[in-house]
Point group: C2
Chain length 290, copies 2
């Protein structure tokens, strides 16, 4: 795990460096929105999505730190942060804290949080367009849209307080969380010009760890303290959220997460030792609960 920690740190440093270059300075007019964008993006996230992109890029023959891969990594964090800012809004999950700090609409205003989220999303597309690869622009747009992340957020909200079948929870997790994680892996492969066959297997890997990630998140929300999480623990249950532990119980949820990780391992077996980091990343997701 120490090896992975060092890899995560290396990616985080490189991603934050390029984010710092790409995002307008806090002194650029209008200052308020640029302050909000930087406040939200430099909040100490683990940069899992950039790490998945870069590790896949390397596994498929790319070189760590290539400018285009870094730009794509930065765009992923912008998209991810955009979704968190809007998700935290009073009319959505109404969260006051994230990563131990006030959420964007609390630290600034609700109006700025709406616009700052929008701006991060638009800027991410600008950065991706700059890479000169239309396929990745289409890939991420599909992953984020109503057949992906946004569709998952809608069903998530609409399922609150309701008894929903396991398929609905799987739909939510697949769309809301796994879509962007899967896309991070796919973009890494696409930027490295991976073969169709490799892309298919890596897409499956991305989907398996993406689903596992959300199942583990649900488990952590039940089992951790607010201090450990940096946000309100137990908030899913309080809100009647459709989660795996709520539907299948804790034991079955843990078993399901482990199955997903096992499948992810199989997906990338063809890469042999080139997939070591991807295996470590899969382990990292599951060991958060073990």
């Amino acid at each position: 795990m120490n090896e992975l920690k060092s890899y995560l740190g290396k990616v985080a440093d490189a991603t934050e460096k390029i984010l710092g270059e790409l995002l307008p300075a806090e002194t650029t007019l209008p200052e308020s929105i640029h302050k909000l964008m930087r406040y939200s993006i430099f909040a100490g996230g683990k940069r899992i999505r950039p790490s998945l992109l870069m590790a896949t890029y390397e596994a498929c023959g790319g070189t760590f730190g290539d400018r285009n891969a870094l730009k794509a990594a930065a765009a992923l964090e912008m998209f991810h942060t955009f979704s968190l800012i809007h998700d935290d809004l009073p009319c959505m999950d109404d969260d006051d804290f994230r990563r131990g700090r006030p959420t964007a609409h609390k630290a600034f205003t609700e109006a700025l949080a709406v616009l700052g989220g929008d701006a991060l999303c638009i800027m991410a597309f600008e950065v991706l367009a700059d890479i000169g690869n239309l396929a990745i622009v289409k890939e991420i747009a599909t992953a984020l849209g109503t057949n992906g992340m946004l569709g998952g957020q809608v069903v998530d909200i609409e399922s609150e307080g309701k008894q929903v079948p396991r398929e609905t929870v799987e739909y939510i997790h697949n769309a809301k969380t796994a879509a962007l994680i899967r896309s991070s892996v796919k973009m890494g492969a696409m930027l490295a010009d991976a073969s169709e066959e490799a892309l298919t297997k890596l897409t499956s890997y991305g989907n398996n760890i993406g689903l596992a990630f959300q199942v583990v998140d649900d488990i952590l929300d039940e089992e951790s303290t607010t201090e450990q999480l940096g946000k309100d623990a137990g908030s899913d249950r309080a809100r009647g959220k459709a989660t795996f532990p709520a539907i299948c119980g804790m034991e079955e949820s843990k078993r399901y997460a482990q199955d997903l990780i096992d499948n992810a391992y199989k997906d990338i077996a063809f890469l042999n030792e080139r997939a070591d980091v991807l295996r470590n990343l899969a382990d990292f997701i599951i060991t958060r609960i073990s």
Copy 2:
């Protein structure tokens, strides 16, 4: 003017047809967000931005109704509608009516309005990426970002109830409204492979009519009835919005709008009779108040 009305009708029909094809059906899951997207986009707008794009495309040698130009026109309406939905939110302008109907968050929920706006923005990028022209993806992303439309919205909100200099009002109008209108013209020229020189002149034309459009909007807000506008008249003044009539008075505002239109005419003189529709569109903007 009859000629222009028929042109606007022709563009509106073609744009709405392709929007109908591109947007997911109301029965596609999750239904609620797709219903909101269609409710908001099929609200009887005049499709000014698609008309500007198509007229510029034709003036530069393109053929009316080419698939890529229509797709770009549809994307423009998606971006425009995204900005209106978020602008109307309670935490922003808090408007209950638009075009005589309840705004999206009133007809649906606030959460869906946030997500539905996001979805239209993301889908517009997906449609643009499909055209296969990276330059227009970059162009629109810049026009929409914090140096364009979103920046204008921020300063607009932050200037409410304050005494601001004329330069600030010009900044707001330039960024909030003119950026997207200018971009509509530029995209038409870019899709028709216009020369650099033509692009520069058409950019100036787009900026002049874009500014005029917002000045005229401010004038109409003061002089019309709620019924005529389809939204609350006099709401700018009630909210202490930074508008031209508020800063320079009504006479000077009308003179300024006419000057902008005169300059727009000069910008496109080089296109001779090929610019007839663009001249009619410029006239259309100013005659709303005369």
